[in-house]
């Protein structure tokens, strides 16, 4: 009881002390463009967001470049995917930034995948299985329902970091939630024709989309996650493709198209090279238009 009172006292005191300070824009370091877009949607004019990667980069393989250290140094909030997607570069940026407020246990550290259940969590971990993520499939932005959960958590985090604009961030989430729920219904109708469609993917980065739309993944062009296709693997895949007759081959447009092109040419199965995230095409300027474009491409190719 006494502790609670003490806490209340400290809380009120710190609020009194800090509220009068005028907050500049919240400086956000997003690891991927999808999170930059989401932060901008929720944060509006109160945030200034930098994306560490573009839609044409593979977020698994980014170098901890000097420019990224300079950006992490100045960030108030870091918004990344997590689930080990950025394990090759983010820990280094954090340690080199000298920035206390974005370290792992601070409010300035936000990993989107922490807030949703991940699929494809490996039962056992063995490097023979390639570049597997112990935390499961990290590409969570391809499930619109999970995105709502993440947007909610992000809105709360912005409220925590920038309490002066608490109401604004709350409102922005409510707007997002409504709009996105309508979109999910609209997309669901549009994509009904995709149910049961069989796809071959380059890498398992479409799994959430495939699950959401009830499609079926037959195989991967990569023999193991993160490894370039080998001729033996492609030969097996060719046999399987001829037998199972998939409807599409899906490729994120930053990925090496060689294997997918070869398979498509040999089997006449249409190859769809799609933007994987915001900025991956002219139309995909935010998450909504990204979904619109990819769903249109899938339904048109059908």
């Amino acid at each position: 009881m006494v502790d609670k009172m003490k806490l209340t006292f400290v809380v009120s005191l710190s609020l009194i002390l800090l509220v009068p300070q005028a907050f500049a824009k919240v400086n956000v370091f997003a690891c991927e463009p999808e999170w930059k877009s989401l932060v901008e949607t929720i944060g509006g004019s109160h945030v200034k967001v930098y994306s560490a990667t573009t839609a044409f980069q593979d977020p698994h393989h980014i170098e901890a470049r000097p420019s990224l250290i300079a950006k992490t140094r100045q960030a108030d909030l870091l918004v990344c995917t997590g689930a080990e997607l950025e394990i090759g570069w983010l820990p280094l940026l954090l340690r080199q930034s000298g920035n206390a407020s974005i370290q792992e246990d601070e409010p300035g550290y936000f990993l989107a995948s922490d807030y949703v259940e991940r699929i494809e969590v490996p039962k056992e971990l063995d490097r023979r299985d390639g570049d597997v993520h112990a935390g499961g499939n990290p590409h969570v932005h391809w499930d619109p329902n999970r995105l709502i959960t993440i947007a909610n958590a992000l809105s709360q985090r912005l409220q925590l970091i920038d309490p002066e604009n608490e109401f604004f961030y709350q409102q922005q989430f409510i707007v997002f939630d409504e709009r996105w729920k309508k979109n999910i219904v609209r997309w669901g109708k549009k994509a009904a024709v995709l149910r049961g469609k069989k796809v071959i993917v380059h890498h398992k980065n479409w799994s959430y989309l495939i699950n959401w739309l009830d499609m079926k993944e037959l195989g991967d062009i990569e023999p193991k996650p993160g490894l370039p296709p080998t001729s033996a693997h492609l030969a097996r895949l060719l046999k399987q493709t001829r037998a199972d007759q998939p409807d599409y081959i899906l490729l994120a447009n930053y990925q090496n198209p060689k294997g997918a092109r070869w398979l498509s040419k040999k089997t006449q199965v249409p190859l769809l090279s799609l933007p994987f995230t915001v900025g991956g095409s002219k139309q995909a300027t935010d998450l909504e238009s990204l979904y619109d474009e990819v769903l249109s491409a899938l339904t048109q190719a059908h």
Binding site: L7, T53, T54, P66, G88, G98, R127, I161, P163
Partner: protein, 412 residues
Amino acid sequence: MKSVPLASLMLVALSNVAVADSTGKISGNEFNPAISLILDAQYTDIDNSELELPGFQLGGEAGLPDNGFSLGHNELTISANIDDKFYGLTNIAIVYEDGDTVVELEEAYIETLKLGAGFTAKGGRFYSGIGYLNGIHDHAHDFVDRPLVYDAMFGGHLIGTGVQARWVAPIDTFLSFGTEVTTGSEFPGGENEDNNQGLSFFVKTGGDFNVSSSWLLGASYFESEFDVREAGGHAHGGDEDEADNELLNGEVDVVGIDFVYKWAPQGNAKNTNFKLQAEYFVKNEQADVEFTEGTNSAEASYDGEQKGFYIQGVYQFMPAWRVGLRYDHLEANNSITNFVNSGIDEEEFLEESGLGTAGDPNKSSVMLDYSPSHFSRIRLQYSQLDNGLEETNDIFTLQYTVSLGSHGSHTF
């Protein structure tokens, strides 16, 4: 936006407690640190395994591999956040040479996580922040062997036991300053009474030219004063007594610049990329020399200026495959005065102490490597080493370097 309200921190702390409780796990191994093991071995075809660089006293780990099969640095790295304030890392190399297994503590340090305002402090034993390649462990280098200038100037790497402070400027161009105070007792420093004579400064700046290319530029300075520095003189043949080669009351300083340029189409390094790097160092040292071989000896005053650089390019031309070229060059300008002969004439002294200069040692290397995954690499390299005496040493190497365990981050 500078500080986060204390109240918010407390709220976060409270909610974390709730989450941790909900899993209900009680076990002792959930806090295991990240463990990574590097395995490294090679087959070498070499004319002469003894490294001689006239004009340069060699120390530390400078050397050439044995002919035939040999093990490299098999290293164990253990690291983790110690608590919310500190990060800790240790790197232990296990070296097997001439029938002996030697354990070398390469690094063991703690580093702050929360000083904030761009500051980071480090304490313990660590690879100095000077230069570009100095802080990068050998297994992450692009060639089998270190550049000649690192062997000649630092005996491999400049390693210190002491403290380091770094600061990153709050601007969009990367700009970082660092300083270290260390024992200064390791090569090119030497034993000193206070065990605190090593001092270094470094500044690094870098950024992106565009989405496909980025750069890093650095300048460094190191100095140390020492009472004694041992440099193993080489005794010729088995019948002669072991030579004793000492520098006394000396001082040494090294200045250097380094540059790195990296290119990858659209910043996507996975399929194709190119890396160009170059470093240049100048070392100045003065000391009294005492050279003893059996009952004979010689004394002199030594004032040396030694320079060296390397430039290398590595191109990944398709996924998993890279080729690289490197050129190394050294130049020594030593002055020996007050020579006192007690049974060893000046010519013999100059040759055997390693202080006599003769031509410019240089080395040209070409390598091809294949990395089937992130965790394994097989490399073939050919080097031609010219020690400046117009004796060329042809070196062919086939090497593997693999890593087991946790996925380490790679520095730029």
